[in-house]
Symmetry: C2
Subunit: 322 residues, 2 copies
């Protein structure tokens, strides 16, 4: 849940007077997204989300994110579509924050998606990768493999080892292994980079919304699938659910078959994806005051995923055929 | 914004299966209310709010709050109406919290309500006071005048004086004066006790919702109006807006005329109401860590209101006629 910027009716009415989307009938701050302040707006013209971009989002990146959502929506992906004001402008200024209105999407998400939903989500990821091929704006992945060692080094060794004896040194050894094996020449493109279950909305098994594009960037395309294998296919007890992985991978490949090089890289990409979320969660865990009202994610969930990945070394383990 | 208990689709679908209010189509955590976790639920049957009661709300008080909302709704007050499940039960258990579903209300609020809205809000407060007369459950005001000195004493003198030199001793002197003048025998009844502008929803000048009954209790009825004079009639620069006060008071009296004793007590009730919010905000201000993500309200807003109240000593100053 985000640092929260308050807005009130008068500001919203002012803002909406510049749009052609009806009169405000209701608004409330919502807790979706951890980086920004989000409001749900109901108007006589429909349902919308107003996002106020907080400090953790670089203003220089906003044209990339906003443009990407528009690009994806135009390509038929069910994602929030940025709404233009009557002068054609999307980015606004509200309470000293950059802000934008996007369409609201129906649908709900579950922390433990079914295999059917894994398949549908894999297919939608592949459709986004295809749609991203002609999106010409670039954004470097601020959390790419080059950033992982500095993140570990910024995490206090004593506090890290408080989670598990010798964790810091073990993480360093594993990270060195991942970096040594990290691929150099896989297909690049626009990736979502954070497609966790809470960012894909469903009604039944149908995807009704892909949201939260604020980590999107350019990186290896197959790395995005590795992030999903980590986020969608482990059970709460830490076990890997191969049925879900099979569905996720086959849903993906039904739309965009991976190259042999991509498939061969899946094991190290999965290790890297788990390491990336382990490291950011470790850093936040250590640096969030004990009495803060927002509890960070437990980094050890991703350490257990790393344990799994380090025991396997074939793409078959992730649902890829012989 | 509240400590936040997460719930997910599976829990909500389980919960809704016990109700007759349709299928879930969307949900999001919302930031309304500071004491509890709130979710907006959209179903094929309508719009609802699910509240999970957090630790700051005593479970023993829930029947009072839930019953009061039902009582007010039945009396024609536009307030959230508790929804029964198919077995007639309102209170549920979700994520180890007591929980209840209530109806969602359209409408928006503003931090600087117009005089017309002050009038309408005053009238609705009076209607609630009349409707409360036959609500038979009782709840002591946990923040009544007897609790104010302990609150001040629990606020560190050094940190208090860091806000303004000698503030702690000045507050003590003022509080002693208020307690010495505090009335003993005004009409008692159910009061909302927190009817700030963000708890009254409007469409235009029409009240469409009164929300957040979780401070409601039994106390002097006129004290509730004094809370509103403080919360609705001061401008952001600290000045008292007599036009708004006139409208608030005449809106109230159009529905429930105050007795002479109540009118005579308005000045001390206004001082007491300002002191109560000054003291809770002071306590929260001092005891909230500097790096917490929720910024407490500045207690000095209410100190400035106290400065105003201590310069006047007639009900006329608050919009009461000769």
């Amino acid at each position: 849940m985000a640092v929260y910027t308050r807005v009130d009716e008068d500001q919203l009415k002012d803002l909406l007077s510049g749009y052609g989307i009806g009169e405000l009938t209701s608004f409330s701050g919502i807790t979706q997204g951890v980086e920004n302040s989000n409001y749900r707006l109901s108007t006589t013209g429909g349902e919308f989300i107003l996002t106020l971009y907080e400090k953790r989002v670089d203003r220089a990146d906003l044209p990339f994110f906003i443009g990407l959502m528009g690009h994806m929506a135009n390509a038929g992906i069910n994602c929030p579509k940025p709404v233009e004001d009557t002068s054609g402008q999307i980015l606004q200024e509200v309470s000293d924050r950059a802000a934008a209105i996007v369409t609201f999407l129906d649908g709900t998400w579950s922390n433990s998606p079914t295999p059917q939903r894994c398949r549908a989500a894999g297919a939608v990821l592949a459709r986004m990768h295809l749609a991203g091929a002609d999106y010409m704006t670039l954004r470097r992945n601020a959390l790419n493999s080059a950033g992982w060692m500095p993140l570990l080094e910024a995490s206090d060794k004593g506090q890290t080892d408080g989670l598990l004896p010798d964790l810091w040194a073990q993480a360093k050894t594993r990270l060195e292994g991942i970096l040594a094996d990290w691929p150099h020449d896989l297909p690049h493109g626009v990736i979502h980079a954070d497609l966790f279950p809470d960012n894909v909305l469903f009604i039944g098994d149908r995807v009704t919304g892909v949201i939260d594009f604020y980590f999107a960037c350019n990186d290896f395309i197959a790395y995005d699938l590795a992030i999903m294998l980590n986020a969608w296919c482990f059970e709460p007890d830490g076990s890997f659910n191969i049925t879900k992985a099979l569905q996720l991978v086959s849903g993906y490949q039904s739309t965009r078959p991976l190259s042999n090089a991509e498939i061969a890289a899946i094991p190290v990409l999965c290790r890297g994806a788990a390491m990336r979320f382990f490291l950011t969660r470790l850093y936040d865990w250590i640096n969030t005051p004990a009495d803060a009202q927002v509890r960070p994610h437990d980094p050890m969930d991703y350490w257990r995923r790393l344990n799994f990945h380090h025991q396997v070394n074939t793409p078959k383990a992730y649902g890829f055929g012989g």
